[in-house]
């Protein structure tokens, strides 16, 4: 029995533009938390800066609205100190793949057990629609004086190359699928990445909801639009690394990279890659500190009656002369 969805909503006024894809993502996060029955105080939403940065204020769990590009740093620190928390980091594509790209890559190497959602719309929506790292070369969205002069980064491929062990894509207007993907991402043991296509109705006048729905792409035979978005699972695609072998891993990584390059006429959503054989960071940490998970830093007693209870005498003995 799911918790009450309303419990996960705040009263905070929302100033996103009408029709913004962000609404769908926030709803999907709230629905996922309710369905998983995560106690509100055991979840924390971290967000970056931008329109998507306000996400944490709309969800009635702990909420930490961090700095531009730094959401992964703050959120990983919290998860490492208190591994019991369900941590979801959220931010825009400019936040995560522009200013935060270094942290994006480094996070993949660690594989901390949390979820990172990128709200991907190809523009810096909060600052009047400049081209962001995922806008395709040569596109001229509404605010640009000239077509985009930079190549776009491929978030799915970058996540796979960086070591993320769960890589998926959702679509902000398919809230049901997105909610299921978020649940799968949160339940995944390791760092899960979710690239969410989130049309910006105000500044991205090319990759619009209608464009994703294929309204400009009419099938001559049926006279119906051919949607660009499709689901990998409908094609029999299997993202899971089943066995611990280089051949299996190569096959799954390669097919995911190939799929990640699809765009324009066919855009896949769903889980691209999933590997639970690679140990999450907390297990690696527990290899060094055996009671790390039973007695994590957030719950460790450090003093009694104002006095330290940490015994450093061995350390001092080693230095004694």
């Amino acid at each position: 029995m799911a918790s009450n969805l309303a419990d996960y909503k705040t009263e905070v006024h929302n100033d996103w533009c009408p029709g913004c894809g962000d609404f769908g993502i926030v709803s999907a996060i709230q629905m996922a938390l309710a369905e998983m029955e995560v106690p509100r105080h055991k979840a924390a939403i971290f967000s970056g800066v931008g329109c998507s940065g306000k996400t944490s204020h709309f969800i009635n769990t702990y909420g930490v609205h961090t700095l531009h590009g730094r959401v992964l740093a703050f959120s990983q620190g919290a998860k490492l100190a208190n591994p019991e928390m369900t941590i979801i980091a959220a931010g825009g594509d400019g936040d995560g793949l522009g200013i935060g790209a270094g942290h994006f890559v480094a996070a993949g190497r660690r594989n901390v057990d949390m979820t990172y959602i990128i709200f991907n719309n190809g523009v810096y929506g909060l600052t009047k629609g400049q081209a962001s790292p995922t806008l395709k070369l040569g596109l001229k969205t509404k605010s640009l004086p000239e077509p985009n002069v930079n190549q776009s980064v491929n978030p799915i491929a970058l996540a796979i190359a960086s070591g993320y062990t769960f890589v998926a894509r959702g679509y902000a207007y398919d809230v049901r699928q997105l909610k299921d993907l978020i649940i799968a991402a949160v339940k995944h043991r390791g760092l899960s990445f979710l690239d969410v296509l989130q049309p910006c109705p105000t500044y991205n006048d090319i990759n619009t909801r209608d464009w994703f729905s294929g309204l400009d792409n009419i099938d001559e035979m049926t006279n119906k639009p051919m949607p660009r978005i499709y689901k990998l699972e409908d094609t029999g695609y299997d993202p899971l690394v089943h066995i611990d072998s280089p051949e299996e891993e190569n096959e799954k990584l390669t097919q995911a990279l190939i799929k990640s390059n699809e765009w324009d006429s066919k855009i896949p959503t769903g889980i691209f890659y999933k590997n639970e054989i690679i140990a999450p960071y907390d297990e690696r940490m527990a290899g060094r500190i055996p009671n790390y998970l039973e007695n994590p830093p957030a719950y460790q007693e450090i003093s009694s009656g104002g006095k330290s209870i940490t015994n450093i005498s061995k350390m001092l003995d080693a230095l004694e002369i």
């Binding site: 740093a73 703050f74 104002g306």
Partner: protein
């Protein structure tokens, strides 16, 4: 925990601190430059963190393997906007041990970022010191909450001393929000003018409280007052104390005040110590006389002489002895630059 860069390092310790875990990172000048933005985030959200700033010689990469004390004013001013922080400096290895515990207490009690200043000379010195006694250390967690019984908790609720009870991620009934924007009592974005004044003043008040509550002997160490009095900070302490002994043997009496709390500046206490002093001599390892400029800013009088070293080489007692003697003998320029060492 090894991070990819210093921005991540400070971000991670802030995240960890939000769970109630005591968290710290250490860096030198270039890394601290990268931390400036997040330092402000910790300030506006009242997150206790300790950043140990081990100084070498700047600017930029400067003399990267050598000593310096030229990050003092940067530590005090790093970050944009007005927010409180404590800047605290240790003079040697032994002080470093006990001061670390104090810095964590300051951070927890005032819910504030603390910058613990060390330098290359301390860090690279092998010295014999009395065995550290951890029973001398007290641990103060301030208003960190273990339990919240009632609903209705607000992270930034007003309190008589301006410091609000602090929840932590994971605590039942303790949900709060944080943001780099100005925020209301729950932590949601607010641009309300009255709230802005409340929050800015609430945060700023911590500096007054720290000056009131932190014992004077932890703010500055008085090694004796005389007509000629040295003021200094950090590792310059060692050569100064040796030089004072040497001067004493030649019949020269020189006072010395080591300032440990550099921000908020203990103006009243330092002013009272210096009230009978005729000549103030500032000694430090930087080119601008940064501590001297702090004194000039805060006191109703000016530093009389500067003895500065910025070659990256450690100060020696002989050169301090020579230059102080010159001042007492009235043969010195206002500023002397020390050069010993190849």
């Amino acid at each position: 925990m090894q991070t990819e860069d210093e921005i991540s390092a400070i971000g991670m310790i802030i995240g960890a601190s939000l769970t109630g875990t005591r968290s710290s990172t250490s860096t030198s000048g270039p890394g601290f430059s990268l931390m400036a933005e997040a330092l402000g985030w910790a300030g506006i959200n009242e997150v206790p963190i300790v950043v140990t700033l081990y100084q070498r010689s700047g600017p930029s990469t400067g003399l990267p393997t050598r000593h310096g004390q030229d990050d003092l004013l940067f530590a005090i001013h790093a970050g944009h906007g007005d927010f409180p922080r404590i800047v605290y400096a240790s003079g040697d290895t032994e002080e470093g041990f006990y001061d670390t515990a104090k810095c964590f207490n300051f951070a927890d009690v005032y819910q504030i970022p603390v910058i613990h200043m060390m330098d290359k000379f301390i860090a690279s010195t092998v010295s014999t010191v009395p065995r550290f006694d951890s029973t001398k250390i007290t641990i103060q967690r301030g208003k960190l909450l273990e339990k919240i019984e009632d609903a209705g908790y607000k992270r930034f609720t007003p309190s008589p001393d301006g410091i609000s009870p602090r929840s932590r991620l994971g605590l039942e009934n303790g949900i709060f929000w944080n943001t780099g924007d100005e925020s209301d009592q729950e932590g949601h974005i607010s641009e309300d003018p009255e709230n802005r004044i409340y929050k800015m003043d609430k945060r700023a008040h911590k500096l007054e409280l720290a000056l009131e509550q932190i014992p004077k002997e932890d703010q500055a160490i008085n090694y004796g007052i005389s007509d000629f009095c040295i003021i200094s900070w950090g590792s310059a302490k060692g050569p100064i104390l040796d030089a004072i002994d040497m001067l004493k043997k030649e019949g020269y009496k020189v006072g010395f005040i080591q300032i440990k709390m550099l921000h908020p500046f203990p103006t009243g206490y330092v002013q009272s110590l210096l009230s009978g002093v005729k000549t103030i001599i500032d000694i430090e390892a930087n080119q601008a006389g940064q501590l001297g400029s702090l004194l000039n800013e805060h006191l109703d009088r000016k530093v009389d002489y500067y003895i500065l070293k910025y070659t990256g080489r450690p100060m020696t007692c002989n050169e301090v002895f020579d230059s102080v003697k010159k001042i007492i003998d009235n043969k010195a320029e206002k500023k002397q630059v020390l050069t010993y060492g190849v």
